[in-house]
């Protein structure tokens, strides 16, 4: 645990080398650990649990993704991350994008895996399907290429882990309910992100569409797009090796810290 701006954050740190700041998605960090271990074979991985996720505290005043980005500005200062690569998944990609608009000069390269955070489509159609208004089976069908690869079994999970799953979804609702899954201001700020950026998407992602990703990537000057086959919204969970390989290849030897 580390106390940042008065908020107790659970920290996962693995490996050595140039740092990667990894920002998890709405379901928390637990599922991503095998993927992070792969990254840690070559790099130092720093992965906080966002406020209200995992065992991190949730202060009363915090209610937006942007608030989290501000906390991570201070985390970067504390850890001396002068120039670091940032990898964010789903709402973690949104946090990363907010962060990148604030201090582009503090970033090396940026990887956004199935990110949310902008609204690029028409008002009468949701860019991101309403995850709060569908049965769990439908949600899992959208999240996974192969639902059998969902590593979380709610029926057998220990009580404390199950509490974390429940709390994660509550914090997700708090942060993303309205405006739904986006900050209307973000798309007008992304032009500031002048570092090389890679948008990654699982080919079967039912949450983040290929169109959405393309429109999102178009908002960042130096952005490319790649697809991970046989994966849904969580390519780092369904295809950890292929995803880690793509990420490490893009990041190269890494920015100097």
């Amino acid at each position: 645990m580390i106390s940042i701006a008065g908020v107790e954050l659970e920290m996962l740190e693995r490996g050595k080398g140039a740092p990667i700041l990894y920002l998890h998605g709405g379901a928390g960090i637990a599922m991503d650990v095998p993927f992070l271990d792969l990254l840690a074979q070559e790099r130092r991985v720093i992965a906080p649990s966002h406020p209200g996720f995992g065992r991190s505290a949730l202060p009363d005043w915090l209610d937006s993704i942007d608030d989290i980005a501000h906390i991570y500005l201070e985390l970067m200062d504390r850890l001396g991350l002068v120039r670091t690569d940032v990898v964010g998944f789903s709402i973690g990609g949104w946090v990363a994008a907010e962060l990148a608009t604030k201090v582009p000069e503090r970033l090396g390269r940026l990887v956004l895996i199935g990110p949310v955070g902008v609204k690029t489509g028409k008002p009468d159609k949701l860019d991101i399907p309403d995850v709060f208004a569908m049965p769990r089976e439908r949600l899992d069908a959208l999240r996974f290429h192969d639902s059998a690869k969902n590593p979380v079994d709610l029926a057998t999970l220990a009580d404390d882990e199950l509490n974390i799953v429940a709390r994660n979804s509550e914090t997700l609702a708090l942060l993303t309910w309205e405006p739904y899954m986006h900050n209307p201001k973000l798309k007008h700020r992304l032009h500031r992100v002048n570092v090389p950026a890679l948008f990654l998407r699982g080919a079967s992602d039912g949450i983040v569409s290929a169109d959405y990703l393309q429109r999102y990537a178009a908002l960042i000057p130096k952005a490319g797009i790649e697809t991970i086959p046989d994966a849904g919204h969580l390519p780092q969970v369904e295809q950890p090796k292929a995803t880690a390989a793509k990420v490490l290849q893009f990041l190269g030897s890494g920015a100097k810290s």
Binding site: D63, A133, L162, R167, S169, L172, A173, L174, W177
Partner: protein
């Protein structure tokens, strides 16, 4: 004891249940025929007027995007009732304050109804059931906090009389609060809050507001009332909790004969049997405490929800204390049993119409209750009683 006739203004003319996913939130409104709906409004308002004629008080509520309660703007119906009635108290239970963006607007609406009715408003505030968050696009997280800030802001708007006041709170911001009209009743209309958990009731008790609880039965009600009384006493309001601070809502149907009562009671069960709602509308994240949410994820609630609907029978509902039905004598005894068991309550909120309980049947039920049960209740349970003072409750 005061008795309140309550109708949800249901629209029961629905296709077979297996043809739709949910009676709430997502049921397409093409099913709603406005002509039939208009006739239903006339009819339900007439039934409230019958209840007033029979000496009962009037209660209404608000839900959204649902056939179970086609009253998405309860203050509008309340305004109509304010002009159509002359003597009944008018209880709105309630304004879904956690889901409304402008508490000051609620203060205005309620003050206006209070003036229109010349001081007959009883103003309820509710957090809103879980299926309301999607229709309102209202964040299910931190709803309790929003509800209490909104309620306090409404009271401030009602009681501030010397030009603009301000409120810069956690959820609501108003720089210029100066409502016209101000309430007819001074300092403001009586406040009611509905709660179905002991945690919420303690806080309501500490404020001294009227606590209403719905269908919590023999099982759930005692802990809620105990918590209310504890909250009342700990806030320094004195050791005696007036009976008129507590209200209980149940399905009620009285008939001259057992068979007539049974027929009416069967139809009232529509409230429970028709409530087809998928789980993802029932438990939005943040609505219930995290450990409860966790067990729901595990599947605990799935069985419970299905069981509640499948087990909805008149006998079981009476046994559970969520329905009082039968001959006048039977209904009186059922209510007395509940009263004694929970330490007493001063208001009986009567869900007296549901689904296909037709107008004449509804009116017969109202009249039978009002003429043959209500006088006995008033005599047996005076409004001057103290809640929780009965010897049965002191034993523990």
């Amino acid at each position: 004891m005061k008795a309140w006739h309550f109708s949800e203004n249901a629209y029961p003319y629905l296709p077979p249940e297996d043809e739709y996913e949910s009676i709430r939130v997502s049921l397409p409104n093409r099913i709603y025929d406005p002509a039939k709906g208009a006739a239903l409004y006339d009819r339900y308002i007439d039934e409230w007027l019958v209840a007033e004629d029979e000496g009962m008080e009037i209660m209404l509520n608000e839900h959204h995007q649902t056939a179970t309660c086609v009253d998405p703007a309860a203050p509008l119906v309340l305004a109509a009732l304010a002009r159509l009635t002359k003597k009944a108290r008018l209880l709105i239970l309630g304004n879904p304050v956690a889901n409304r963006r402008q508490p000051v607007r609620i203060a205005e609406e309620m003050a206006m109804v209070d003036v229109l009715s010349k001081g007959r408003l009883e103003c309820g505030f509710v957090r809103g059931v879980p299926y309301e968050v999607l229709p309102a696009n209202s964040n299910p997280v931190r709803m309790n906090e929003r509800q209490w800030e909104a309620m306090d802001l409404i009271v401030k708007a009602w009681t501030n009389h010397d030009g603009p006041a301000s409120h810069e709170g956690r959820f609501f911001h108003h720089r210029n609060i100066n409502i016209w009209p101000r309430p007819y009743q001074q300092p403001h209309p009586p406040i009611w809050v509905s709660t179905t958990t002991p945690g919420g009731a303690g806080r309501v008790g500490s404020r001294g507001y009227v606590q209403a609880t719905f269908l919590t039965g023999f099982k759930g009600t005692p802990a809620i009332y105990d918590s209310y009384r504890k909250g009342w006493r700990e806030a320094g309001r004195g050791s005696d909790v007036p009976i008129d601070r507590l209200a209980y809502a149940a399905l009620v149907y009285a008939g001259e004969t057992e068979s007539e009562a049974r027929a009416g009671a069967e139809k009232l069960l529509w409230y429970m049997t028709a409530n087809k709602v998928p789980l993802h509308f029932c438990y939005p994240p943040g609505y219930v405490p995290t450990p409860v949410h966790a067990q729901i994820l595990r599947g605990a609630a799935i069985d419970q929800h299905a069981a509640n609907r499948a087990n909805a029978t008149v006998d079981k509902a009476i046994e559970a204390g969520i329905m009082f039905a039968g001959t006048p004598d039977q209904v009186f005894r059922q209510i007395k049993k509940m009263y004694d068991d929970v330490g007493g309550f001063g208001h009986l909120l009567i869900m007296g119409q549901a689904g296909f309980l037709e107008h004449d049947e509804t009116v017969r039920g109202i009249r039978c209750f009002a003429r043959e049960v209500y006088p006995r209740l008033k005599e047996a349970f005076p409004d001057t009683a103290i809640s929780g003072a009965r010897p049965e409750r002191v034993v523990a």
